[in-house]
């Protein structure tokens, strides 16, 4: 009898509670040294000298540069940036989609009914996951610096750099999205003898497509930002123009380009919303 009473009060205790408390303490213990290590001192922003410098720089932003030949140059640089980001993304997707299909456990046939896949399949999946980790652990800026040495100055280096890093990111997140979506549809098709890709297109994709598209567009937006950063190391596009303007302390030119930038990101957001609505 007593044992039953004890086990009843045990059963009412939330088993996750201790873990949550421990997790919170560990997070604090880790976070604090990190903030000190990073020399996080936000009050520096507000001392008199910094406010003066900020004020001067911001004042030079107005009015934004709007000479016709400058605008034309910005337009062509913007186009170059968008083209670099888009071409890089297209190449990244071309690599990431097949790698995802190979890496995801969801499409494993050997795991059916056993809750683990065969050792060879497991090894292959992990090898691909490691390949994706290597691709994305090198920042695109570093790839660009390396590639500028190889293929020379210009957008080619930027395109390849984006393709390499983003292939790693897309492959990982695509696989995660597939694995976190509902597995019933895909599993049912596999259990009835469908092939992997058939089960993917009829079982997994309909549920995951909106999320996959929205993540892809978001990454395209990131690629636009990334290609600007790479412009600073000579990969062309808006970034290279921005670098020149900063060096000349031309605040007006900088503010025009930043405005273009805001518009580009807003446009990416609009495209994403449009596509999501279409898919929903």
């Amino acid at each position: 009898m007593n044992m039953h009473v004890l086990s009843a009060s045990d059963a009412q205790r939330d088993p996750a509670w201790r873990g949550r408390i421990a997790g919170a303490i560990v997070a604090l213990l880790i976070l604090w040294p990190m903030l000190t290590q990073a020399e996080f001192k936000p009050w520096i922003l507000f001392d008199a000298q910094s406010l003066q410098a900020t004020g001067n720089f911001l004042a030079s932003f107005f009015p934004p540069a709007h000479a016709p030949d400058f605008l034309q140059m910005v337009a062509s640089a913007t186009w170059e940036t968008v083209a670099m980001a888009t071409a890089g993304m297209a190449l990244a997707m071309a690599g990431a989609i097949p790698l995802t299909l190979l890496a995801t456990d969801r499409l494993s046939i050997s795991r059916l009914g056993r809750h683990r896949s065969s050792p060879i399949a497991f090894a292959c999946r992990h090898a691909i996951r490691w390949f994706l980790i290597v691709l994305r652990s090198v920042p695109e800026l570093v790839w660009a610096l390396l590639l500028v040495r190889i293929v020379g100055l210009g957008p080619t280096a930027g395109v390849i750099a984006i393709a390499l890093t983003y292939c790693g990111m897309l492959g990982k997140v695509y696989a995660d999205i597939l694995e976190s979506s509902d597995d019933a549809a895909c599993d049912a098709l596999l259990r009835n003898g469908s092939g992997r890709l058939g089960a993917f297109f009829y079982g997994a994709l309909p549920d995951a497509s909106a999320e996959l598209v929205s993540y892809t567009i978001y990454r395209w937006e990131c690629a636009i930002r990334g290609s600007v950063v790479m412009g600073f190391v000579g990969a062309g596009g808006l970034g290279q123009r921005m670098d020149e303007s900063i060096k000349m302390m031309a605040g007006g030119e900088l503010s025009t380009m930043l405005l273009v930038f805001v518009l580009l990101v807003a446009a990416a957001d609009g495209v994403s919303a449009l596509l999501r609505r279409r898919l929903d």
């Binding site: 009914g113 019933a184 009835n192 003898g193 058939g198 309909p206 549920d207």
Partner: protein, 274 residues
């Protein structure tokens, strides 16, 4: 022979080592037989269907599907055997955003090449077959509707329409009537029985509606606590056998703590085994 299970035991997914969903189950089902699986919730009906379908590897015992042991065969052979049967889970596994026509035609995937499957997503490859299958369940108007526009009962029948477009030799169907009203339940069951009889396909169907099982199925297997309690012709199943099968189900959680009789031992008593 469609299925032959010998001394099968299976474990619950992620459960403790000694928690068995099925224990020492031996069962053979000939091609073309129609079998109802009945028993209280948690008796192991779903585990048994999954074991028959090669979707769950048993912890002990041997399985034969169409005279092939799927778990000693190569992965490819096992998967080819799966294409010869159709396992319909209790919750219809249809992606909400998919159109009904694609959800139904997905039953043909094992027969299609990848290109045929992709082309069918652009322009449905055999809408007539999907229409005919849906019409058997009075759902033909929903051919181009989206799955998330269907009610629970409509989804369940849509899942069964997918079963009909497959050319499986055996249908393993988990509680096909759970979301249907009594009239629809009888109609739906009749479609399944008629279609499988016509195709000389095997039908194994788990049911909660004991009376429907007794009225329509030539053979009934009663399961409780992972064991086969009886396996008899539908006409030979007596009220006493049913009562014993479902005995104490409502009260089992209130078994007095002092009693030393575990619930598992109840069916080891004088319950008729056929």
């Amino acid at each position: 022979m469609s299925f032959l299970l010998q001394h099968i035991s299976t474990r619950h997914i992620g459960a403790a080592k000694n928690a068995y969903a099925l224990q020492d189950v031996t069962l053979s089902i000939k091609q073309g037989e129609q079998v109802a699986l009945i028993g209280p919730s948690g008796a192991g009906k779903t585990s048994l269907l999954h074991t028959l379908a090669g979707a769950l590897q048993p912890a002990g015992g041997t399985v034969q599907m169409f005279d092939i042991d799927p778990w000693t065969a190569a992965v490819g052979v096992r998967h080819a055997v799966r294409a010869r049967l159709f396992l319909a889970p209790q919750t219809p596994p249809l992606p909400p955003r998919q159109r009904v026509v694609n959800a139904v035609l997905a039953g043909m995937l094992p027969r299609w090449s990848l290109w045929q499957a992709l082309a069918s997503l652009v322009k449905p490859r055999d809408p007539a077959a999907a229409y005919a299958a849906l019409a058997r369940f009075d759902l033909q108007d929903k051919l181009y509707a989206r799955v998330d526009r269907l009610s629970g009962g409509e989804r369940q029948r849509c899942g069964l329409a997918r079963a009909l477009v497959s050319n499986a030799e055996a249908f393993l169907i988990d509680e096909p009537l759970s979301a249907l009203d009594p009239t629809l339940a009888v109609q739906t069951l009749n479609v399944l029985l008629h279609e499988t009889r016509q195709r000389r396909a095997t039908l194994v169907c788990s049911l909660h509606q004991v009376e429907l099982a007794r009225a329509h199925f030539p053979r009934i297997v009663g399961l409780r606590d992972g064991r086969i309690v009886f396996d008899a012709a539908g006409s030979e199943v007596s009220d006493a056998m049913i009562a014993a099968l479902y005995q104490n189900r409502q009260d089992e959680l209130l078994v007095p703590a002092g009693s030393d009789v575990p619930v598992d031992d109840l069916d080891a008593g004088p319950i008729p085994r056929c």
